[in-house]
């Protein structure tokens, strides 16, 4: 499985963010997207996720499930965590598991993995910043997708949480998954660096 972009260009709000960007990632490989604030890291992840339309170039996934589009094979973990404060932790997770469909894992187990098993029945609105992030991570575990697109995933995680997350990423890669992560902090795993917009 190989994800590759050729000459990708991005325009937002009528202004060109970057252009002529080439990148590639293979199964079991992590790419960390780096660059200064406003360079276009988030934009690149959203382009891959199909949430922005490229102003030029192409992004293709070779060797994935031929029946599915690229976005359908991606998990996108952005700044906004897609949680409903009125629903409980378990309900939030169960909804995404049902809605996203496909191969899936025990929700209760994923909650235990990310250390939220004591909060299963709390409303998501009661969670602290780091706990919300952990709940988002549980979504990645419950529904299997080969490509993970992570936007500053370690934000708000405590030290133990970052270690736990490092373990999850390594496991995902070892199963043949692929990770594209935009970060300013070290990711905690071996990764290839993709720099956008010159040195910071």
């Amino acid at each position: 499985m190989q994800l590759s972009g050729r000459g990708v260009a991005c325009v937002r709000g009528g202004r060109e963010v970057f252009s002529g960007l080439d990148f590639a990632a293979a199964s079991g490989e992590a790419v960390s997207v780096v660059g200064r604030n406003g360079a276009g890291k988030t934009s690149l992840l959203r382009l891959i996720a199909g949430l922005l339309i490229p102003a030029g170039g192409t992004i293709v996934l070779d060797g994935g499930d031929a029946e599915m589009t690229l976005p359908e094979q991606c998990h996108y973990l952005g700044h906004r965590d897609a949680l409903k404060p009125a629903l409980s932790v378990a309900e939030n997770l169960a909804f995404w598991a049902d809605f996203l469909g496909g191969e899936r894992f025990e929700a209760a187990e994923s909650l235990a993995t990310v250390g939220l098993d004591h909060a299963t029945h709390l409303p998501a609105g009661f969670l602290s910043a780091g706990q919300r992030r952990r709940l988002s991570l549980a979504r990645l575990l419950t529904v299997r997708r080969p490509v993970w697109l992570l936007d500053e995933p370690t934000n708000a995680l405590d030290v133990a949480g970052q270690e736990m997350f490092g373990g999850l990423m390594r496991e995902h890669l070892s199963r043949g998954g692929m990770i594209i992560a935009a970060t300013h902090a070290p990711l905690g795993i071996d990764s290839r660096e993709l720099r956008i917009g010159g040195t910071a």
Binding site: G14, E16, G198
Partner: protein, 259 residues
């Protein structure tokens, strides 16, 4: 001359610059003939001299629908073919179409007073035209409210296409519901029932108003293209100021405007 050639705004400006004087001339001449013929037309045995209102009411009413039709096609151009001039065309047409609709409503109600004894009646034809007018206003409001033209264009296109459902309702409202308004007599299956002495000036006026629309529309499109050029140049100027202050080391904000 193909649609592809027109896709280049600069070429469009050049072409219309040459075309516009001729169009304007033709409009004026036809309008003059039409008005003259309308003045010569006899009084109707039922409606008396008020039938003269027909010569402006009907062309305006037709155009109010025609312009929305043009906008709908332009909207397809925006959404499906992503033709660069499509949203310019749609945006420029809206105020003109709204004016025609307003005039159709106004002349209609001025005609209604002597004919039906009331300026306004909530019947299907009148109501559907009023909805058309409100939708024109809504579209114009939408264009004004959103400063990013491409974003506004796509939203407006969806709304225009949804609103196009109103067109057949206007057209056939007189057939579907028995209303005060008269049924179609010119554009109907099986030929016109209108007397020639009315038909000729009416058609002349209709053609004249259509030409008027084309002229105004092209001119308004030119303005719109220039407005976008101004906008993108101003944004370029703003970012150039930023470069001179040394905030950015690379050209991270190249402008991508309409032209």
């Amino acid at each position: 001359m193909t649609l592809i050639d027109l896709a280049n705004p600069t070429r469009f400006l050049a072409l219309t610059a040459r075309l516009l004087p001729w169009l304007a001339g033709a409009t004026v001449i036809l309008l003059a003939i039409g008005l003259y013929q309308a003045a010569l037309a006899p009084d109707d045995y039922q409606q008396g001299a008020t039938v003269k209102i027909m010569f402006i009411h009907v062309p305006n009413a037709w155009l109010s629908m025609f312009v929305w039709g043009v906008m709908s096609i332009a909207s397809l151009g925006t959404l499906v073919w992503r033709h660069p001039l499509a949203d310019v065309a749609a945006k420029a047409a809206a105020p003109i179409g709204a004016s025609f609709t307003f005039l159709a409503l106004l002349t209609g109600s001025l005609w209604g007073r002597p004919m039906w004894g009331t300026y306004w009646e909530w019947d299907a034809r009148l109501t559907s035209v009023l909805i058309l007018f409100l939708m024109y206003l809504g579209l114009m409001a939408l264009w004004r409210a959103v400063d990013d033209p491409s974003r506004a264009a796509r939203a407006a296109a969806v709304l225009t296409l949804v609103g196009a459902i109103n067109l057949p309702i206007i057209k056939f409202s007189v057939d579907w519901w028995n209303t005060l308004h008269q049924p179609a007599s010119v554009m109907r299956m099986g030929g016109s029932t209108l007397d020639k002495s009315f038909l000729v000036p009416l058609l002349l006026m209709a053609i004249a108003f259509t030409l008027l629309f084309v002229t105004l529309h092209l001119a308004a499109m030119r303005n719109e293209i220039l407005r976008r050029r101004v906008r993108s140049l101003q944004m370029m100027q703003a970012s150039r100021v930023a470069f001179s202050s040394g905030a950015r080391e690379d050209g991270a904000s190249k402008e991508v405007g309409a032209t």
